[in-house]
Amino acid sequence: MTRTGRFSLARYLPAFVAFLIAAAIWQVVAEHTQSVIPTLGSIASALSANSHELIVDGLDTLQESLVGLAAGFAVAFAAAVAMSQVRILERALMPLAVVVNVTPLVALAPGLAVAFGFGYMPKYIFTAIIVFFPFLVNAGIGLRSVEPEALNVMATLRASRLEVLWRLRLPSSLPFLFAAARVCLPLSIVGAVVAEFTASGNSPGLGVLVLTSAQQSQIGIEFAAIFCLALMGVVYTAVVAVAEHRLLRWHVSARSPRN
């Protein structure tokens, strides 16, 4: 085995063992409570028997979360840039954003369904609203987290505001945006699923599948859908981690500790 191979094994083995133990506990508990928690075998057979439905519904939920995420990020980032450039905007809008944030946003979902029907629109909007605030706060802090002396160097070169924004503030905000992405990408799945719960009807999506199969006591399908949602979250997290590793090679958080 190569040196790298040994290193990888040492690194991943504890997590692998933890997963095995969790699976074993699940299996033991499920054997005794099969009406509430399905065994791993029944989840696996539900996955294979309903694969087409799970993929179709999964793509719907994926679409809702991605569109909501993109919209929420775009609006939050534009607002953060505007606030970083015009101080009075920050003083005006930040309290409003805080009020929106402390409101339990889940309560908005039924109203959105009433206003926008049972299509994709209320799901996009709800997901966008739920990811908006973490992106706004992190982008705002990131755009302000600029070393003052670096701003001074730019000032002595007579850099324009746009140049300072593009060459200094935006790159400085990247670590903060990635921190927000780590929270917001999985959160967007929560947003999409909650929106699906409240506007289910005949509309598609894994959230609807979870709700209807639970109501019909088809717990195998219910947990197969939950498994797909978890898988989506894992993929999101991995994508953020890879992008962060590539784009933030320079940042202290990306460096392995040295002695």
Partner: protein, 278 residues
């Protein structure tokens, strides 16, 4: 170099070039109870001279440099750089600024940090005669000059503090600015690195003969580097006097062990003590 006292001298100087600081005053705090940081400071730096400013904490030496760099406004007085206002000198990229911390952009490689002045305010080009040189070749030559010839592709975080400060100096000099303003650039470094960077700065100065205004709280550093040491009093900062350093160039490390060096050092120290008493 002389400390000037009249507007007539100021006009003559502006025509001849160099850095002219005339009757500069700066106050901080509320208007009903202001704290004076600088009071009627006048300093003249002739083209190609190295002037160090020393003074105790609170003498306003960094404030003075910030005003010259256009980073702060004076309440009274004026600054002229080669006959231009500070605004015009910044616009034309005549100012090279080396802050106390290296202030490098951590996401850029060393070479791209040094190339930064080419990218911002790009309407104004470099001042040297060799217009055919590419940005990359200029950056390479500049990195060679500061002893970082093979470090261009590394990121700032991979460099030691001394190397980072060399990159900062290279960035300030890449455009061949008229004046180089240095705000205690070596104060965060260990003693040996300071000594080495001091020698490298001396070598660069001998090569390029920039007009330099160097702020420091180290008397030895000021005497080692400068043609003239200007001494400021503690708050408010006033020019107590200036000491001409009669040491020949190029100056080696061993110059610090000579009697002449110690004599100048003692003279500056005595002047600072006098300012402290006032």
């Amino acid at each position: 170099m002389v400390t000037i006292g009249s507007d007539r001298t100021a006009r003559e100087h502006a025509a001849g070039g160099g850095l002219l600081i005339a009757h500069l005053s700066k106050r901080f705090g509320p208007s009903d109870a202001p704290v004076s940081a600088l009071e009627d400071v006048s300093i003249q730096v002739e083209r190609g001279r190295f002037v160090a400013i020393v003074g105790p904490s609170g003498s306003g030496k960094s404030t003075l440099l910030r005003i010259v760099a256009g980073l702060a406004n004076a309440d009274a007085g004026s600054v002229t750089i080669f006959g231009e206002s500070v605004e015009d000198a910044r616009e034309n990229k005549h100012i090279g600024y080396v802050p106390q911390t290296p202030a490098l952009l951590p996401w850029r490689t060393v070479a791209r940090n040094v190339a930064l002045p080419f990218e911002v305010n790009s309407a104004h080009g470099p001042k040297d005669v060799d217009a055919s040189a590419t940005t990359a070749s200029r950056v390479d030559a500049m990195l060679q000059a500061v002893g970082l010839g093979n470090q261009g592709r590394r990121f700032p975080a991979e460099l030691s503090g001394g190397m980072q400060q060399r990159v900062s100096i290279a960035r300030a000099l890449i455009f061949r600015p008229g004046v180089l303003l240095m705000d205690e650039p070596f104060s965060a470094l260990d003693e040996l690195t300071r000594e080495q960077l001091r020698l490298e700065l001396l070598r660069l100065f001998d090569d390029q003969r920039q007009t330099v205004l160097f702020v420091t709280h180290s008397i030895a550093e000021a005497v080692h580097l400068a043609d003239v040491v200007v001494v400021l009093s503690s708050s408010p900062g006033r020019v107590i006097g200036e000491v001409v350093v009669p040491l020949a160039r190029p100056r080696a490390a061993l110059v610090e062990t000579t009697m002449a060096f110690h004599d100048v050092e003692n003279e500056v120290r005595a002047m600072m003590r006098e300012g402290w008493k006032q």
